[in-house]
């Protein structure tokens, strides 16, 4: 690493020197600082110069502080180009071999000798004790959580049950009931909808976010007052891919205590759910590591902070435009004649990083195709094996359902 490069020169004002490293190989080339182009072009260029056209890559660069930061969209690509001084050091990894632990603050400086060398020189080396892994924002798998704590009355709780690509049933029942309201005329009995039963092992029960006899006030931001049990049932099922229920918990003792503001304090309630949480996150223990074991909002990368700061929005925890905040519709599956299944996307502009929640399970399926049965954590192609559901899973699901007589009409 030649110190001379750090001296700004006339040449460097217009051109950025790039040193790209993939495995043990280096490539050097330059880019025009004023016209960096788009990320996908850049990505293609990298594949080209390394002569690895069909390899899925994770691109990282060393920033001025020596942190290894990812390049995966136009924004952080431009940021990387503009801050390069003047050399831009790139580290490419095979996607399936990528080590997410490498990214983050101080990642390069702190463990320069160990981690970087491990990443760059011995990508396949076995590490005895993996550090805390923080994945890319788009690779966060949304998990069930309590949200909007800052805008709701303390007696209410807004719960998001995120059932994306999971085999776990939502697992609860609702019933008609009546609740007592305080009005000008005194106490008044009004009809309401209540949670009547939990299915052991279901999402609702295992996260501990809902409890029997909680009164349902809203479903995905829409009040249920005046709606029939059947209507509320249909609303919940229609939103089942991303169900947000506002409840008035029957047990008011565990209410969220409002802290210094911001979403982070929601974790105040996490103690309750952490008991059962471990098994829930078990399937990809490394996967959602940041939020693992806690039913709390995930730590967010700074890029999404702006969008999460708008409190009026119900869905706070995920950047608005991010593809992982899936409107399920973008994932209707279309199979063209003779071709492969592909999920429909509204804006297929960026090459996508494929999800890697099951990092330990070897290569992920090819681009968005039907996940092979068994890879439960696939994020974007969230169809649970639509064509050929594996029988063992069906059996498993059935076993989760509680037996006993229930009137379901």
């Amino acid at each position: 690493m030649n110190k001379n490069h750090r001296v700004p020169s006339n040449r460097s004002l217009s051109a950025v020197e790039v040193k790209s490293k993939f495995g043990a190989e280096f490539r050097r080339f330059s880019l025009d600082r004023s016209k960096p182009g788009r990320f996908d072009e850049f990505y293609g260029l990298l594949q080209h110069v390394h002569r690895i056209p069909n390899v899925e890559l994770l691109v990282g660069y060393a920033d001025v502080h020596g942190d290894l930061l990812p390049i995966n969209n136009d924004d952080n690509y431009h940021k990387a180009i503009s801050t390069a001084s003047p050399l831009l050091r790139l580290f490419l990894q095979r996607k399936e071999e990528a080590d997410y632990a490498a990214f983050g603050t101080d990642s390069l400086t702190r463990r320069k000798n160990t981690v970087l060398s491990a990443v760059l020189l011995r990508p396949d080396a076995n590490r005895k004790k993996p550090p805390v892994i923080i994945s890319l924002p788009r690779d966060f798998r949304p998990v069930s959580s309590i949200i909007d704590v800052d805008i709701l009355p303390e007696t209410h709780r807004r719960v998001r049950l995120y059932k994306h690509g999971q085999e776990k049933p939502l697992g609860f029942y609702i019933r008609d009931g009546s609740s007592v309201r305080v009005t000008a005329q005194g106490l008044e009995k009004v009809p309401g909808i209540f949670i009547s039963r939990m299915v052991p092992g279901g999402l609702a029960e295992s996260t501990g976010l809902l409890a029997v006899n909680d009164e349902v006030l809203e479903v995905n931001g829409i009040e249920v007052a005046g709606k029939s049990l059947d209507q509320v049932t249909d609303m919940m099922i229609a939103n089942s891919h991303n169900l947000i229920i506002t409840v008035k918990p029957a047990n008011q003792r565990n209410n969220v205590v409002r802290g210094g503001g911001g979403g982070g304090t929601a974790s105040g309630s996490s103690g309750r759910s952490s008991d059962s949480g471990a098994s829930y996150y078990g399937y990809g223990s490394g996967g959602g590591g940041g939020g693992g074991g806690r039913a709390a909002p995930l730590p967010l990368p700074s890029s999404s902070a702006a969008s999460s700061a708008t409190p009026s929005h119900i869905i706070q925890n995920f950047p608005l435009g991010a593809e992982l905040e899936s409107d399920e519709d973008d994932e209707d599956l279309v199979i063209e004649a003779g071709g492969e299944a592909e999920p429909i996307r509204r804006a297929p502009s960026l090459p996508r990083y494929e999800p890697h929640l099951d990092l330990r399970r070897g290569p992920s399926p090819a681009n968005g195709a039907l996940p092979a049965s068994g890879s439960g954590g696939s994020l974007s192609s969230g169809l649970p094996a639509s064509a050929t559901p594996s029988p063992d899973k069906a059996a498993e699901r059935r076993s989760l359902e509680e037996d006993g007589t229930v009137i379901t009409l």
Binding site: R175, Q231, M235, I237, H241, E331, V334, A385, P389
Partner: protein, 1018 residues
């Protein structure tokens, strides 16, 4: 600035919406459910029917109909027109009396309730003292006589319902004068009948339940004659000459009594038990009518020998030597006879019988007494309706051919015109010819003229002839054997018993341009039929299609396939089957479509779908959609229903045979009702203890019936590339899956030889997995593609093939627009996620603006499971308007809904009635009619007008203004209905003057009223 402009645009859109959409329930077609009372006004020529649910319906000439609904949810037990007036009185089960009138408003009559009344007895009296059992509307139109369960007769002045206490005929007054030797004098029981002497309005006969009849003079307030019948009385009839009374009794006898004033002969003149020897059932009503020449007509209901024919519903007609027992298929409610002549006093011309399930009119002047076909009140449900299909704007040619074949079927009807002629139909001619096709459980398809207010039967098609069935289809109607006595004649067409439920029609599709019809049924049968004006004998070859496609491990547990007749079958003129497909497994057909230009039929069941080429008679495509783990789909839907139905049928038959005859007046009705209510409450309480729960779970591909095919659609569109459009077939399933097939149709000249090919092109799995209920392709302008052959007949603009097409998929939960040929989501509208309602029925309609002739737009019409109607704009899928339409509990009503192509629709409000509604401002079919009051009742008209001016309707007024029946002042001669030429100011002035007259009269009102009554009676 921008916001301001947008606001302007929105209000413009709002205005446009008002011009395009408007919701009205316009008319009820069919036969009222559970009719309970009948009346006829000879002077108005109107028929009135009251129902169990408290509705009152009036019918006159075809197209003249009115409907009213009592606020009380109680059955109408009696209806009486006030003679020579436009008022009628109804008696409800809760003992309340209601006064209705036909009031003219802006040149149209409307039925209004103008008063209500409940008899109040003396304090402390038993409630049965005032429980009304008999009503007589006196011929002068001023009095109402009310006989009660306690045996009293109350006299009330109408229409104001003022009790004339001093004139009441109490039981004591009557009992005192009863001859000592009359055995039942201790207890005369309730008043069973009240009749007026046709020649002397002062005389009325009061018939008591015990049998005694008393002729009472209203003026002198005394009994004139006692007629000591000893059998339980059922009805009394006063012959037209006023000289005889005929009474009918519960033992099946009737007696004729001479009416002699002052003559105390209590001698029974003639008594007869017409079906005698063995015990007979009661004769519930008897009438005798003279003819100008020849013997009189005697008609009575009931009286059948208990043991042999106790379960029959019969009316016996005796005329000279002819005697026939008309055998109806359901219980007789009431009947009357229409008489000829300008004053309706001539020979009897028609017998009108209201039975529980239909109205039958019999021509008494033609030999053989044939039935006159009813232009309204048609029994839609002669066999249960299983599906319906509406076709708008039928070309005249096809219309006439259907009419002609229909006429050939109606040879046994009388040629006489419809005898009920009251009122004028002022509705404009229907804008187009519309057909409503109903499929029935017995395998018939009925064609109804749905263009106007009267749903008129046109043609009936039976599909049963193609198959071997267990029973001879004619078995039911020809039960009578040779030489049987009495001579029965089956009348009416209500026949609810279908012996092979597999014949049931489930889906219908008619191409109005080519006359091809396809009908699909419960046992997986699909018939393709063609209209032929000649009878033809032909063999229908069946093509069996295996929808399971060799998938193993399935065993169909439902019904078997229908057996097809292998020998040639003679088909009458009309729609004749020429091709038949039978699905294997023979599950019910759930989707059907026909493309007459390509000569293809697509069909689907819960197992898959197929495409059939009916020109070459071969199967083009079979696709199995069944989920391998879905065992429930192999259960025949009929297996359970069948047994329920069977047991129901048996219990019905048991009831019919039971010896218990229904007494007219249930003394303990109230007690029974209370008991039932208590039981219901207990059940409800029980339900509260074990609350209903609903499972919240995302849909999964493993759910049952995900493979059920919900919709099939043909489109000529861009399926593979954006430059060449090709024919295509689209199918949507219950599991949210859409399959698209590209079709290769040989050119016309080689169509007969070259095969049609289908090749899979696309498959879309909706992520939310809700059932796909509709698929529409929108052309480059965003308009739905036209129907096949529509463009060829110059009836539609050819679709825009330049711009890009869009695919609209309607699922139960949302509306979604995709681009074509590359399928990607473009727009969507969520329904269930927002308000919890789901799409049940969907159709595409054209809405024309009411303001400008040339503007119109297409829209999706949607009925949700909450019973709400929505209009969704195309192609932008934006919610436009919504209206509540059906009660959400009325699941079968919602399921039965069909939409027309012009924003109207029909749904069943009972098994026998369609409600017609309109969402369009331009296409509204509703009754518009005018009933003129009878000419010689000017006085009552005048009074009615005054009433109307002084107080709104529905007053219980004991101070109803009434005028002496002197020559009317000139002002009061005004017509009731303002003629179009009159100017409104004149009207207002008239009203003022009339009010003044009324005020001046109110001073000496009581006096006037008494005068009035006296002069009326005199």
């Amino acid at each position: 600035m921008k916001r301001f402009r947008r606001h302007g645009q929105e209000s413009q859109r709002d205005r446009l919406k008002q011009e395009l959409f408007q919701f009205n329930k316009t008319v009820e077609h069919g036969f009222p459910h559970q009719p309970s009372a009948l009346s006829f006004s000879p002077s108005l020529q109107l028929l009135a029917i009251g129902t169990h649910s408290g509705a009152i319906k009036l019918y006159g000439a075809p197209g003249v109909e009115f409907m009213g609904l009592h606020d009380e949810n109680a059955a109408v037990t009696q209806v009486h027109f006030l003679p020579q007036q436009v008022e009628l009185v109804t008696l409800l089960e809760d003992n309340s009396l209601h006064m209705w009138t036909l009031r003219a408003h802006q040149g149209l009559s409307e039925l209004l309730e103008i008063g209500r009344f409940t008899l109040t007895g003396p304090p402390g009296a038993f409630p049965n003292v005032t429980r009304v059992t008999a009503v007589l509307a006196h011929s002068l139109g001023e009095l109402l006589l009310l006989g009660t369960e306690g045996g009293h007769v109350f006299i009330v002045e109408v229409p104001g319902f003022r009790e004339l206490e001093e004139r009441n005929i109490s039981l004591d007054q009557v009992a005192n004068s009863v001859p000592e030797d009359y055995i039942g004098r201790r207890n005369l029981e309730h008043v069973e009948a009240l009749q007026e002497n046709p020649v002397d309005p002062n005389q009325v006969v009061i018939g008591y339940g015990r049998g005694l009849m008393v002729i009472w003079d209203l003026e002198k307030q005394c009994a004139l004659q006692h007629i000591p019948a000893t059998q339980q009385l059922e009805s009394v009839w006063w012959t037209e000459d006023g000289r005889h009374l005929i009474s009918s009794h519960s033992d099946g006898s009737y007696c004729r009594w001479a009416v002699g004033e002052g003559d105390e002969s209590d001698e029974e003149e003639k008594s007869d038990i017409p079906y005698g020897h063995f015990p007979c059932k009661a004769i519930t009503k008897i009438i005798q009518l003279p003819t100008q020449q020849g013997p009189p007509f005697l008609l009575f209901s009931g009286g059948m020998p208990r043991a042999s024919y106790g379960d029959r519903h019969c009316i016996t007609v005796i005329h000279g030597k002819t005697q026939i027992a008309l055998d109806f298929t359901s219980r007789i409610i009431d009947f009357f006879v229409i008489k000829d002549g300008p004053q309706h006093t001539g020979d009897p011309s028609a017998l009108v019988v209201l039975v529980e399930e239909e109205l039958v009119v019999i021509d008494l002047q033609t030999d053989g007494w044939p039935v006159i076909q009813t232009p309204y009140l048609v029994p839609l449900h002669c066999s249960a309706i299983t599906c319906s299909h509406h076709v708008s704007a039928i070309p005249l040619k096809l219309w006439e051919r259907i009419l002609a074949t229909g006429d050939l079927q109606q040879t046994h009807y009388s040629k006489k015109p419809w005898p009920i002629t009251g009122g004028q139909n002022l509705a404009p001619d229907p804008p187009q010819r519309d057909l409503l096709l109903t499929g029935h459980e017995d395998g018939t398809v009925r064609f109804w003229d749905a263009s106007g207010v009267c749903l008129h039967p046109m043609y009936k098609l039976s599909t049963a002839g193609v198959f071997h069935t267990d029973t001879d289809p004619n078995d039911n109607m020809n039960q009578s054997t040779e030489g049987e006595w009495p001579l029965f004649r089956k009348v009416g067409c209500f026949d609810p018993y279908s012996d092979d439920p597999r014949l049931g029609v489930q889906k219908i599709h008619l191409c109005k341009y080519s006359g091809y019809l396809t009908v699909a049924g419960t046992a997986g049968q699909i018939l393709v039929l063609e209209l032929n004006d000649e009878a033809a004998e032909q063999t229908v070859e069946a093509k069996v299609v295996d929808l399971l496609q060799g998938q193993e491990g399935f065993r169909w547990k439902g019904h078997t396939r229908l057996d097809v007749r292998e020998e040639p079958v003679l088909f009458p003129p009309g729609f004749q089957p020429f091709a038949l497909v039978q699905c294997q497994p023979p599950a019910v057909i759930t989707a059907l479509n026909l493309h007459s230009e390509w000569k293809l039929v697509a069909f689907g069941t819960s197992h898959g779908f197929g495409l059939y080429d009916y020109q070459q008679k071969n199967s083009v495509l079979v696709k199995c959609t069944l989920n391998p783990s879905d065992q429930l789909a192999m259960e025949g839907p009929l297996s359970r229903v069948k047994s329920i139905k069977k047991s129901l049928r048996q219990s019905f038959r048991r009831i019919r045979r039971s010896r218990v005859s229904l007494r007219k007046h249930h003394v303990n009705n109230a007690a029974k009702l209370q008991e039932a209510n208590a039981r219901l409450e207990a059940e409800l309480a029980e339900m509260e203890l074990a609350p209903v729960q609903r499972k919240i779970e995302a849909r999964s591909s493993d759910d049952s019936f995900t493979g059920l095919v919900r919709t099939l659609y043909f489109a000529d569109t861009f399926l593979s590339d954006s430059s060449h459009n090709t024919p295509s077939l689209w199918a949507g399933t219950n599991g949210g899956c859409v399959f698209a097939y590209m079709l290769r149709i040989p050119p016309m000249e080689h169509r007969a030889e070259e095969g049609v090919a289908a090749q899979p092109a696309k498959e879309i799995q909706l992520m939310h997995r809700a059932p796909v209920v509709g698929i529409v392709v929108l052309d480059g302008h965003g308009a739905p593609l036209p129907e096949p052959l529509e463009v060829a007949h110059d009836l539609a603009r050819s679709p825009d093939m330049q711009g890009s097409h869009h695919l609209l998929v309607v699922s139960e939960e949302q509306f979604k627009v995709f681009t074509l040929p590359k399928v990607s989501a473009k727009m969507k509208l969520k329904l269930t996620a927002i308000d919890g309602s789901r799409v049940r029925r969907v159709g595409v309609s054209w809405f024309s603006s009411s303001r400008t002739e040339d503007y119109g737009e297409s829209g999706l019409v949607v009925l949700t499971n909450q019973g709400d109607l929505h209009v969704v704009s195309l192609p932008h899928v934006k919610m436009q308007v919504h209206y509540p339409c059906v009660r959400k509990e009325d699941v079968s009503g919602i399921a039965s809904c069909v939409f027309t192509k012009h924003g109207q629709g029909f749904y069943l409000i009972s098994p026998s009635e369609f409600e017609r509604f309109s969402l369009s401002t331009r296409f509204v079919v509703e009754p518009r009619c005018l009933v003129e009051p009878p000419l010689h009742s000017a006085a009552s008209q005048r009074r009615r007008q005054l009433d109307g001016a002084s107080s709104p309707h529905r007053h219980v007024s004991t101070a109803a203004a009434s005028l002496p029946s002197q020559p009317p002042p000139p002002l009061a001669n005004l017509p009731v209905c303002p003629s179009p030429s009159r100017n409104p100011r004149q009207d207002a002035e008239d009203a003022e003057v009339l009010q003044e007259i009324q005020k001046s009269l109110e001073g000496d009102q009581t006096l006037t009223m008494e005068n009035n009554v006296k002069s009326a009676v005199a």
